[in-house]
């Protein structure tokens, strides 16, 4: 068990969606870890970039702040 504080976490319904989400924000290469096929961990700034990119594309993810 490890505690990672102040990271960005993205979980999607499936792997394809996660790949698309990361591609939309151009963050595929910036992922810190893929802990599961549909679960990615990023730096916080990159995660905000993902949210902005998704909202800019008319997608509104569930954002837990």
């Amino acid at each position: 068990m490890k505690f990672h504080l102040h990271v960005g976490v993205i979980e999607t319904v499936d792997e394809t969606t996660l790949n698309e989400v990361l591609a939309v924000a151009d963050c595929t290469e910036r992922v810190l870890a893929r802990l599961a096929p549909n679960l990615a961990v990023l730096e916080r700034e990159d995660c905000e970039k993902v949210i902005t990119a998704l909202e800019g594309n008319g997608l509104h993810p569930k954002v837990m702040r």
Binding site: F3, V7, R44, C47, I51, K62, V63, R65
Partner: protein
């Protein structure tokens, strides 16, 4: 309930709706906070337009009410400055969840203790050249400091609470002048030449400070008039009728019962109808819609983003739809209901914690069994794919209290310790227990795993990664991620793989060596010579193109110059 009690209660109800309107404008606009700490003028105009009785900006009154409600909202922490924008906080949800009576008490306490609010500055009839930026008072001025204002507020509340009958505001002001002349400014020494003027206090548009003699009503009277008509009347201490100028002490009897309904229209607009809307219900509505408080009818537009934001705050989609249906007398139009369901489904497909505490399960570990119950109860994390947990980053104190003993927290808001150790060869050592996600990312970019703690640098991976994120970035990460600098050999290898260095060449080459600088320059000036030179390696050293030796030998022999057979002696 007596007539006065009804009037007082309605007065406070209107005040609550005004506060709600200001907060709704914040939701709708997310205004930028300027350097002076206040939102921009556009926000003030919009918020003023949303009030029950807006101030008249053209009259020079400014936005007294908006400033008043904004200060109370900030002091109650209903609003916060987040990344340069004014936003509503979760405390606002709690504030509107309590009863109207409790809200009244909290607003009263907040006003009585508000040091940032200076009613002298709010009074439209006065100008205060002594009031500096940030509302601090010049020491040589007569503008009262915060403590004096607080005392005056309490005294004024005591005075109006002790009223037992109606009184005109003018009468009250005369009584205050008589009995509490020094309420804000000390007048005991007005005969002194030093106290001829109210220092730093002018009439609006005036060119000089107001003379003290005979001006109490003009200065203190104006401030007290504002205090009576705004905080005292709006926060239910008195009932004030502006037409007759009469103040009635607040009646006992409680608060008004809400009476309203909403109409959900097929164009996604939700219209609140009724003269006594419930501020709690309207606030809940405002939190998952885009409110439009301006105008006579309160309208809330159902949109995908605020709806998804509400889901992110933990509101269940079905709960929001039921809440909306509960407020509406007629059923929600089918297209609206379908859209809300659709938005909820789409939002649930992508869940993001932008600033999270991630509890990672390692190997086959089952977190549900190993994470202490106390921690789960305190943080209530969400279980993710692979058995990991995530929760919005908690307060450090809460985390410290509930963390299992001897467990370290890797804080990614800081630079983490470098945990990868380079060896003499191409192996990297990284103990699994110490590995954080940044180190793991780096290892994945440049190496493949050989055993639990041992990784081997991979030239192909380094090349691919440097193409993906840029060679410079990759090398920066390597420098930051390694516990000690790379050996020269490894540094050369990695920088070459990353494309920073072109690959070196070793082998035969055709060169021409000139023996001195002038000889080299003369050769270089000959076009026939330059045709066979690939590049100049050093002064007097020319790398030749293939067959350059044969051709240049012919060229120079044509000039009667025979080339040497070996390079020794240079």
């Amino acid at each position: 309930m007596t007539d006065t009690a009804i009037k007082t209660a309605r007065g406070f109800h209107t005040a609550e709706l005004d506060l709600l309107s200001v907060l709704e404008v914040v939701i709708a606009r997310s205004p930028k906070v300027l350097k002076n700490g206040l939102p921009n003028l556009a926000f003030f105009r919009a918020a003023n337009a949303a009030l029950h009785e807006p101030d008249d900006e053209a009259d020079g009154v400014g936005f007294v009410q908006v400033e008043f409600w904004l200060t109370l909202a900030r002091n109650l922490e209903l609003l916060a400055n987040a990344d340069g924008q004014l936003v509503v906080t979760p405390e606002a949800d709690q504030f509107f969840a309590i009863s109207s009576g409790e809200r009244l008490l909290r607003l009263r306490e907040t006003w009585l203790a508000a040091t940032e609010l200076n009613e002298f500055a709010l009074t439209p009839e006065l100008e205060l050249p002594a009031l500096k930026k940030g509302r601090t008072v010049d020491v040589t001025s007569d503008v009262p400091v915060a403590d004096r204002i607080l005392e005056a507020r309490r005294l004024l509340v005591d005075v109006v609470s002790s009223l037992d009958a109606e009184i005109t505001l003018a009468q009250l002001l005369r009584r205050l002048e008589r009995e509490h002349r020094n309420l804000f400014v000390n007048h005991d020494d007005d005969s002194s030449w030093r106290h001829t003027y109210y220092r730093g206090i002018r009439e609006r548009g005036g060119r000089e400070d107001v003379e003290r003699d005979g001006s109490w009503q003009l200065v203190e009277g104006a401030v007290l008039r504002l205090m009576c008509t705004l905080p005292l009347a709006r926060l239910g201490w008195i009932d004030y009728d502006p037409q007759s100028d009469v103040i009635t002490p607040a009646g006992e009897g409680g608060l008004t019962e809400p009476s309203f309904e909403v109409v959900v229209q097929p164009n996604f607009e939700v219209v609140a109808l009724g003269d006594r809307p419930d501020p709690s219900a309207l606030w809940k509505l405002a939190r998952f819609t885009t409110p439009r408080p301006e105008g006579r009818v309160r309208t809330y537009v159902l949109e995908r983003k605020p709806f998804a934001d509400a889901l992110g705050r933990g509101e269940p989609a079905a709960g929001l739809v039921d809440f909306l249906a509960g407020l509406s007398r007629s059923p929600i139009p089918q297209n609206v209901r379908f859209s809300l369901d659709d938005w909820a489904t789409l939002s649930e497909r992508i869940k993001i914690w932008p600033d999270a505490l991630l509890i990672e399960a390692e190997g086959v570990e089952e977190l549900a069994k190993v994470v202490p119950e106390k921690l789960l109860q305190a943080l209530q994390p969400t279980q993710l794919a692979g058995g990991h947990y995530a929760v919005p980053a908690p307060d450090p104190g809460v985390l410290r209290e509930n963390l299992p003993p001897r467990r370290a927290v890797l804080d990614y808001s800081r630079r983490l310790a470098p945990v990868i150790n380079p060896t003499e060869g191409t192996d990297l050592l990284a103990p699994r227990e110490e590995l954080h996600l940044r180190a793991r990312q780096l290892l994945a970019l440049v190496s493949h795993s050989r055993s639990t703690d041992r990784y081997e640098l991979d030239a192909e991976l380094v090349t691919l990664s440097s193409q993906a994120i840029g060679g410079e970035e990759l090398l920066r990460r390597l420098r930051e991620g390694l516990s000690r600098p790379l050996s020269s050999a490894l540094s050369l290898a990695i920088r070459t793989w990353a494309g920073e260095f072109p690959r070196p060449y070793a082998g035969g080459a055709e060169v021409l060596l000139a023996e001195n600088r002038e000889q080299a320059e003369l050769l270089d000036e000959m076009p026939e010579f330059r045709r066979w030179v690939d590049r100049r390696l050093a002064p007097g050293v020319f790398l030749l193109r293939p067959n350059g030796t044969i051709e240049l030998r012919k060229l120079l022999e044509g000039l009667g110059i025979e080339l040497r057979k070996d390079a020794r002696g240079r």
